[in-house]
Subunit: 264 residues, 2 copies
Amino acid sequence: MLKAPHSQHQTVPPAPTLEAAKVITISSQSIKVACSNCNLRELCMPVGLSKNELERVDTMVEVRRKIKKGAALFHNGEAFRSLFAIRSGFFKTCMATEDGRDQVTGFQMAGEVMGLDGIVNDHHTCDAIALEDAEVCVLPFERIVAMSQEITSFQRHVHKIMSREIVRENGVMLLLGSMRAEERLAAFLLNLVQRLHTRGFSQSELVLRMTREEIGSYLGLKLETVSRTFSKFAEDGIIAVKQRHVRILKRDALNDLVNRADLN
Amino acid sequence: MLKAPHSQHQTVPPAPTLEAAKVITISSQSIKVACSNCNLRELCMPVGLSKNELERVDTMVEVRRKIKKGAALFHNGEAFRSLFAIRSGFFKTCMATEDGRDQVTGFQMAGEVMGLDGIVNDHHTCDAIALEDAEVCVLPFERIVAMSQEITSFQRHVHKIMSREIVRENGVMLLLGSMRAEERLAAFLLNLVQRLHTRGFSQSELVLRMTREEIGSYLGLKLETVSRTFSKFAEDGIIAVKQRHVRILKRDALNDLVNRADLN
DNA sequence: CGACACCTTGAAGAGGTTCAAGAAATGTGG
DNA sequence: CCACATTTCTTGAACCTCTTCAAGGTGTCG
């Protein structure tokens, strides 16, 4: 019915520099690595830095850190020291209430930054869990602060990353507050595939790295509802689903669902 | 049944400096004002600034701006130039989708900062509407950037304000994603009264500045559900409600609702 | 005082949840 | 590499919470 899309892995597409870097990193986890020739630079770093500034920025990454699938990059309550830029792999962030309820607040992929929640009270307020084996660049916050004061465009970049997260969360609030199940899932799929496309993957095919339950938590739905909605989309010919492999057949139909004009 | 709490106005409690400042501002809207002797300083500004730094920070506020009840401080799509610190009054921020749906993303009161969403794309992504006559300090973002580079503790403060907003929105996502109507409203009331208490108001009595519909939008509920839930709380003796006047009678009951251990 | 916005309450209905069972995939240990 | 245990996913049916629709009441402001 639907073959696994071999062409899509949710790690970074192969590139000479990446492969070289990987060999180094495998041999030792604490080797410093340069942002200046990282193929994710355009996602992580500001553009238009001078050669000098770029060299300076290369001191940003303290170490790389590998996280096994299922392991935590950081936990709620843990002291905040660094931000983390995802180099490869896929994460979820989630909050838990005292009573054991638990809410996925986001899914993060290569080039995105995690840990911003920790700044305000010097400790993290959520858990970051790897949904597949992953590697992150550890960015000590004190270095980020220092560099912001030296390089104006870097400061600007940090502000934008934080503002972007605020805007993203506003969008999720809109979704959770005013959309119905089908609309939520449609918006979710479109958002995921769009971000993957930015990273060089297909516009129409993706592999979910999270369970139905995690999707449900993020979207404020139960896992059964997520599953049923997937099935309904498949019946309607909008997508093809086989487990975590999803192919988008009618992008317009998904768009229409999100922007339907008939609901107040 | 429930008398209007005369002791509580959701503007700043009277203070000599405030009254003086008001007289000045009324006479002209473009007079510069000093943060250093503003009675909201501890909410807006970092602590532990030297006398020198304080003087420097006093140049932060370009002007004060008055906004009439119902008017917009800024609109979605408008160019971003400044952040706004609320001096008095009460705001809502809301997003609208193309199809006319509309989601309240927050309520803001004295000492809180608005406009952070505009940083990432140089234009605002939501509307900020005054729910009562209000006054804000206009903080040109370029000045904030410049001052961040000069005064470390100021930069730190800006980071914290943005991080705090991210954490707040995480909390709203938890609320919208996993709580039921009663829990949402309980959390909402506790949050409001706590913030008001920080500003010197009662711990148990408040005047809502927004309609049932706006509360509902924020909480992902319809206005009828909000109204019914208020009525239920009143029946249960948890609160006393008369229109927009709310008195909290059993704070513990509200707390228990938010932290109920029996729901997964 | 009258018009308008806002709030309350009831009754019917829909969308999503809960509970349950079974199927498919994944991981583990022999 | 296969068998078994575990996790994940799907689907059905009953139930429940919240919504929708409707009507009337209350408060506010010119």
